[in-house]
Amino acid sequence: MMDEKTRDDLLKLFESKLNEAMRLYLETCTRCGVCTEACHVHASMGQVKYIAAYRAEIVRRLYKKYFKGRGKIWPSVGEARELSAMALDELYEAAYSCTGCRRCMVYCPFGIDTQMLMSIAKLLLVGAEMEPEILTLLADTSIEKGKSIDLFKESFMQGLKRLEDEVVSKWKLEAGETAIPVDVEGADLLYVALAGAHSIIPAAAIFNAAKENWTLSFFEAVNFGAFVGDPTKTKLILDRIVSEAKRLKVKEVCICECGTAYRVMKQLTGKQPFKVSSITEVHARYIREGRIKLDKTMVDGAVTYHDPCQIARNAGVIDEPRYILQHLTDDYRELTDEPRYNWCCGGGGGLVAMGEDTLDFRMKSASVKVDQVNATGATILATACENCHAQLSNLNDHYKMGVDVRFLSSMIADALIQS
């Protein structure tokens, strides 16, 4: 049973999400069914509950019960539904089986954004303390890091020293150059990586090769506040990077290969004295400007590229990876004729971060992605997102796909020509 106070509090959270666009999404669906086959989860697993419009309906029924529509007809809205413990369970199932890929939105004649509607579900779950605990812990860890970074700066910088040899093995430095500059005021570009060495080493080598005036952020790019759907935490995590960029007076913030980090940074940063770029855009620029040159013989085998939903469909970085790949291989094979319709890898929305708890679902719900990759006959599956890379690697093992899952940046770093 849900008490009145809890229900009222949750309904206030619901109301806080009801902007113009959200109301439109809630009041427009005509149940035309076009989105039925659009969702990879439904296409792979075939259950009604995984149809995009069905997920949305779970939220819509609550809307019908508690909020007044603005005089429009609501052709699709089924029975109004009370906000109860059972309704929260349904919201969980709908929201945490949706990767937020927005493929359904591209198909919907009204452009209904199911991912946005799921953000209502996620916020209600946060309010009811029913969200996945690990995502909140990860978000809180990021926020804590922002508060106490001065305590850990020294050991972080020491840790980076261990990576320098590997950076230099990919690109030799000239006298006086630093392999991984940190905390450089007046640098042109702030690179925001992830915790892993694999997110720092290739990127550093490429920046050095391009003679970029760069500096590495103390913070990790990923925003777990966004995964768990908590706007306050999302903002706090984002603000750490914005403050660092302002303090160092950089002109550009470059986000590593992490889709959510890039979309959140690009869409929520607001007007700032710096621009936000994805690392893929920066790498394409270096090639275009002749600042780096690549050796195609370093890539052995046919290559296909998985567009991370948050970087391609949801943030428009589509041409750049293809431009880069033209300089890495003569045997590039598209997954689909129209990259905007690319299948999601099945790992977004926090599912990969939830680890083994979601592994079985992630494998079952992405079989269409596996078929798409296999149909190309490529032996190298490149991508530009940590989340996608982890999920595609899991799929590769599970389905014995026999491909080499590679980060685009690591392929570039391995192909750098040092003249």
């Binding site: 990860l138 840790g159 720092i200």
Partner: protein, 80 residues
Amino acid sequence: MSDDIKVDKVFDLKGLPCPMPVVKVSKGIKEVEIGQVIEAQSTDPGSLTDFPAWARTSGNEILKTEQDDDVIKFYIKRNA
């Protein structure tokens, strides 16, 4: 292993993708009793800021951090 600390369980987190090191330590620490110690091994420099921030958030305690050429070792006492 650190000479002066008795380790109850070791977690090899080397080379894992983000955010698996923190996820695995969070879950793994529940496999020992309160008061016992785990050793988490990482190769990621980011873990040098992630783990202390995680320990503060989760109420656990990093007793010691050691870095050598190959690996970073955290000795973490379960307090919560």
